[in-house]
């Protein structure tokens, strides 16, 4: 796992001559960075670009320590094979991601432990609850110990209790790697983000520490919902309230 951050330099990704996201120039440090934007702002497109599933139109991504790091991705709607067992899925993904045979069993155990599913290793995926399934999906994204973990809307569709548990998990995972969380839920941002990038119609309208947004919120007319209002304005107009 690369314990350094990575940097996007003039990074642009998009479809043909139509919709584009970027250019993005930002540093993503170790910790949790939330990528915020309204539906259609380009979060998933940017994720595909960062995950290497789509070629960038311009720009580059480099690890700040100069090493080549790997990327793990939790898709927005992870489709897990219901009849397979948890550990079998993780072993398969570890093989897909090039984890050497000798290290595969340990990688599976570590991933299961990280998401708190060790006692479910032999259970069929279809019998897990929604929250457990989401945690397993995160485990498959990190089974190869990626330096950058991309989580696309990880809390969508979960009940409040599951959501809280997952946020704690993401916070723990972000202690030693770059975790980029795409979300349109401002509660996620408030609870887990150390850094925030706000997208509006493919443009970056904010990139910086979450504390800075909190500071702006404190100065807002109504501090009770100031954070949300500041971010919401950035998402819509590109200008803070």
């Amino acid at each position: 796992m690369a314990s350094s951050g990575f940097r996007a330099e003039g990074f642009v990704v998009g479809y043909g001559s139509g919709f584009r996201v970027g250019p993005i120039t930002a540093t993503f440090p170790v910790g949790v960075t939330c990528l915020v934007g309204a539906n259609g702002a380009g979060k998933s497109t940017l994720f595909r670009g960062l995950a290497g599933l789509q070629k960038p139109k311009a720009g580059s991504l480099t690890w700040t320590d100069g090493q080549a790091g790997t990327v793990g991705l939790l898709p927005q709607e992870p489709s897990l094979p219901a009849r397979a067992r948890c550990a079998d899925l993780l072993a398969h993904v570890a093989w897909l991601q090039g984890v050497p045979r000798s290290a595969r069993a340990d990688a599976v155990s570590s991933a299961l432990e990280a998401v708190g599913l060790v006692d479910r290793a032999g259970q069929r995926i279809g019998t897990l609850s929604g929250g457990m399934r989401r945690r397993l999906a995160i485990a498959q994204a990190m089974v190869h110990s990626p330096g950058l973990l991309l989580l696309d809307e990880p809390t969508v569709g979960l009940d409040p209790k599951q959501r809280t548990g997952l946020r704690e998990l993401i916070g723990q995972i972000g202690q030693d790697r770059v975790v980029l969380v795409s979300t349109h839920l401002l509660e996620d941002v408030r609870r887990i983000a150390q850094n925030v990038i706000v997208l509006a119609e493919g443009r970056v309208t904010f990139a910086g520490a979450a504390a800075e947004l909190a500071s702006r919120a404190d100065q807002a007319a109504d501090p009770a919902d100031g954070f949300d209002a500041v971010v919401a304005d950035l998402m819509e107009t590109g200008e803070p309230a």
Partner: protein, 420 residues
């Protein structure tokens, strides 16, 4: 728990492909049990008989491979499928194709072992090369399905790939529109003994190269994924069209009559039955006994009734004979197959037919046709042990069997090829 067990368990619980081997096995076993397993004893015939399964096997493989590929390209799965250079698509394809190849090869060797042809004519090299070509054909249909499956929903992909596979088998094999053309995917099979023929190595090498290259092109066709749909992209189209063009081009441009080498062979086992030398191919020993009985029955029937003068001296099994002279009283029967031999009427007509006469290479005269009918019907009546029976031929009343003097006189004329 070993990694292998985990891998196998994961594959069989998440893919359709590994289960296709049971359909393949059912196809192959059903095919192998047809016609009293007539191919047994000939390795080449066994392999060509097995090729008959491809008309159905190919589309099934393509359809199943397409379904799996399409399922792996759904949102939420495609991210993994596209990771690590499409390793997951290749994995799914391998789980579909390899068990079927193993099944196909296994069925072949079991059939060869049962048939006992451990030293096939022409050697094992050509046979193994042809088996490799069939294995690659199985893989090719899998590649076709995998390619189609990347760009369509699972059900549509399965049906489309199966339809394309079936269409190609019909269109490019001699059972379909491409009659007489080189068969680029798999040879269309055989239902007759192959003794006297060998697989032509150049044709096999062309087929193997074509399958390997076009299969790889289909496998490499990249998917451009926009989050909801996978699209072929320009390179995908180029590779797909290139593969299709190579296959169709080969069918049109490679000579279609060079698949086999004609080496010829003469029956190599002879035995004596009531004074008649009976020769057949050693590969067909399994089906000989009913023929022995029929020939013995012919001898007894004719000699007992005083018609022994029309008996042949030598009876040969049909084959792609090499340098065989036409000798009076030497006749040819059909290819010996297990099960019951042809009926008495057919055997009677073969055993007294003057095939040594060169006139019979062309259309014989009407007089000869009538004489041949009288002769064979008389022999048939004798073999059936029937009482004299009256028939009407061209308005005349005829009683079978004809008197022995008439039969002998006719046969004497035939011996000197006086057929008119």
């Amino acid at each position: 728990m070993t990694g292998l067990v985990r891998s196998v368990r994961f594959a069989i619980t998440t893919l359709v492909g590994p289960w296709a081997v049971f359909a393949a096995l059912a196809f192959e076993i059903t095919l192998m049990l047809q016609r009293d397993a007539v191919y047994l004893g000939e390795a080449m015939f066994t392999l060509r008989w097995m090729a008959l399964a491809f008309l159905y096997l190919g589309p099934v493989i393509a359809g199943v491979a397409a379904t799996d590929a399409a399922r792996l390209m759904r949102p939420g799965q495609a991210e993994l499928a596209l990771a690590r250079r499409r390793r997951r698509l290749t994995w799914a394809l391998a789980w579909c194709v390899l068990p079927i190849v193993a099944c196909h090869v296994g069925v072949f060797f079991v059939a060869v072992a049962i048939g006992g042809d451990f030293a096939p004519r022409g050697g094992w090299g050509r046979i193994l090369l042809a088996l490799l070509a069939q294995g690659l054909a199985i893989a090719w249909f899998g590649c076709l399905g995998s390619c189609v499956g990347r760009f369509l929903p699972p059900l549509v992909a399965g049906l489309a790939a199966a339809a394309i596979g079936f269409g190609l088998m019909l269109g490019l094999n001699s059972d379909g529109l491409g009659t007489g053309l080189f068969e680029p995917l798999v040879d269309s099979g055989a239902s007759l003994s192959q003794i006297g023929l060998l697989f032509a190595i150049p044709a096999l090498l062309i087929r193997i190269s074509l399958l390997a290259v076009t299969g790889a092109l289909l496998l490499l066709a990249p998917a451009r994924w926009d989050g909801r749909l996978a699209l072929p992209g320009l390179l995908g189209w180029v590779l797909g069209v290139a593969a299709f063009s190579l296959v169709v081009g080969a069918a049109l441009l490679v000579p279609g009559d060079k698949d086999f080498v004609w080496v010829g062979a003469n029956p190599d086992v002879c035995e004596e039955i009531g004074g008649i030398e009976f020769c057949y191919f050693h590969e067909h020993e399994r089906g000989v006994e009913p023929w022995r009985e029929q020939i013995s029955h012919l001898v007894v029937s004719l000699e007992t009734n005083g018609y022994g003068a029309v008996l042949p001296t030598r009876v040969l099994e049909w084959g792609r004979v090499a340098n065989q002279e036409a000798v009076p009283r030497q006749v040819t029967i059909g290819s010996i197959e297990p099960g019951q031999p042809p009926d008495v009427a057919t055997i009677a007509s073969w055993l007294v037919y003057p095939e040594w006469c060169p006139q019979l290479l062309e259309v014989p005269s009407d007089n000869f046709m009538i004489d041949a009918r009288l002769m064979s019907s008389s022999v048939e009546a004798l073999m059936n042990g029937a009482e004299e029976t009256e028939y009407f031929l061209d308005g005349s009343s005829i009683t079978y069997p004809l008197p022995v003097e008439d039969i002998e006189a006719m046969y004497q004329r035939w011996l000197v090829c006086d057929l008119d």
